[in-house]
Amino acid sequence: MNQAKILNLVAKLKHTNNIKPRKLKNYRGPEGRIAMLQKSLTALLKYERIELNFNRADETRAYAEIFMSQIAKQGSQNQKSIDMANFWILENQIIYKLFNVLVPRFSNDVSYTNLYHHPNVYPGILRPKAILELKNNSFPKVSSSIKNQSSVENILLKESHKRHFIDVITQ
């Protein structure tokens, strides 16, 4: 029989309704799983855009969302959020960056991250890949909208279609 625990209060996740914690198969077991997530969460806050296998990226995303929302709720001066940051972030500089740069940037009431599917390179290891990034970062956008005719991808695709038809007709 299950009952909701009431000691900790958590804000609702904005990016998904259904969450299943993944095992993230690992020779160190559940301890190793948390270590993997610590690494990738630190990397996410450090580089603001990272490339991962899809499973690990999606799992990291959920942890990052809860992490940021808890700190936004409790405030950066709170002892609880400082302890949590010390556990999850492996480099001291990034903790400084989190409280002074990222937290003021993410005081909005929306999700904090974006996740994109990433194509595989053939031949290679054909696991689904993903790009995970913080919102409002300084990099150029990952995807441009399909309707935008002037984007580079759409122009190249149109030209390649033309070339293909011309080749077919001339043969």
Partner: protein, 315 residues
């Protein structure tokens, strides 16, 4: 009838106001004095900000009040497992729970409180039975919520598991309202009997209204081995130090990482999947709050009002 009105205007509203006043001037006899301030935008901005700040404070207070209901009315929160969630079922259950609460008063009590339950029992003389004991567990969501009472009666430990919304329950009385250090007190089974023995005819202890629930910080000693559970691995706060009773191997085993699980302390997704998020809790409690308040007030009135008996002729 002459009235003088002082109006301070920002530049963006001045033209609009002028038109309005101009049109209405011949209708009323009001005398209008327009005073130009030096910094017209400043007073408006402050008032707006203040208003917003006050609104925010009021909103936060309301939210806190609703969220604090989670301690006393924990069973109104649904099962957090997403497989078992069903919003329609939860709403219907809440309606049934409130309907039951309008017939029987289910008071606020916690694990560690002393509670007496009067319930109908076809095999008991008088068809009623009263059991009084310490609450050692409160579990379950919705109509399946239940609690276990424990007491020593005639030299024998007795535990009864009551369903909170069982229709056979006639009355629930809280004899002593308090909390313990742990969420479950199953270690009382391995403790000496005096720690779970309470006289059945205890009188209820009343506390002043609005006072915080006291925490009983008693540490219970355990009987010598064997125990029902390996308590040294459970991290219970309400148990006295047991290292002198254990063998060397068992003591070494209890300090292993796999039993203490230090990595679970900050496992955020685990924490999330075990609770109901704030937004859902606020929705649930704002739905039931009015009805509960109504019931409480009704009960308060009934307590105060005297039962008048029709006077009868004497002699």
């Amino acid at each position: 009838m002459a009235m003088s009105v002082r109006v301070r205007l920002g530049s963006q509203f001045r033209n609009i106001m002028r038109v309005c006043f101009h049109e209405n001037r011949h209708m009323s006899t009001a005398e209008i004095v327009v005073e130009k301030s030096e910094n017209p935008k400043e007073p408006e901005r402050i008032s707006l900000e203040e208003q917003q700040r006050l609104n925010d404070i009021a909103k936060n207070e309301r939210m806190e009040k609703l969220l604090n209901m989670r301690f006393a009315y924990q069973e109104f929160l649904p099962d957090p497992n997403p497989k078992n969630r069903n919003t329609l079922k939860e709403r219907l259950e809440r309606r049934d729970m409130l309907a039951r609460r309008s017939n029987v008063e289910i008071p606020e009590f916690y694990v560690g409180s002393l509670v007496a339950v009067m319930h109908s029992d076809p095999h008991a003389p008088g068809k009623n039975n009263r059991f009084m004991g310490i609450c050692i567990q409160k579990i379950g969501a919705g109509l399946r919520a239940s609690f276990i009472l424990r007491n020593f009666i005639d030299g024998e430990g007795v535990e009864i598991n009551f369903d909170m919304y069982d229709p056979t329950i006639q009355r629930i009385d809280v004899i002593r309202l308090e909390k313990r250090l742990d969420e479950e007190l199953f270690y009382l089974r391995d403790a000496p009997p005096e720690y779970s023995t309470f006289p059945v005819d205890m009188e209820p202890e009343y506390q002043p209204e609005g006072s915080a629930v006291p925490v009983n910080e008693i540490k219970v000693p355990l009987k010598p081995l064997p125990w029902l559970v390996k308590w040294e691995r459970m991290g219970m706060k309400g148990i006295r130090d047991v290292t002198s009773m254990l063998t060397e191997k068992r003591l070494r085993m209890s300090k292993l990482k796999q039993f203490n699980k230090p990595w679970e302390k900050y496992d955020l997704l685990k924490m999330y999947s075990e609770t109901i998020p704030i937004e859902d809790q606020v929705e649930i409690f704002s739905e039931i709050q009015e009805k509960l308040h109504e019931l409480e007030q009704h009960r308060y009135k009934m307590k105060r009002s005297r039962n008048f008996v029709k006077p009868t002729k004497m002699g």
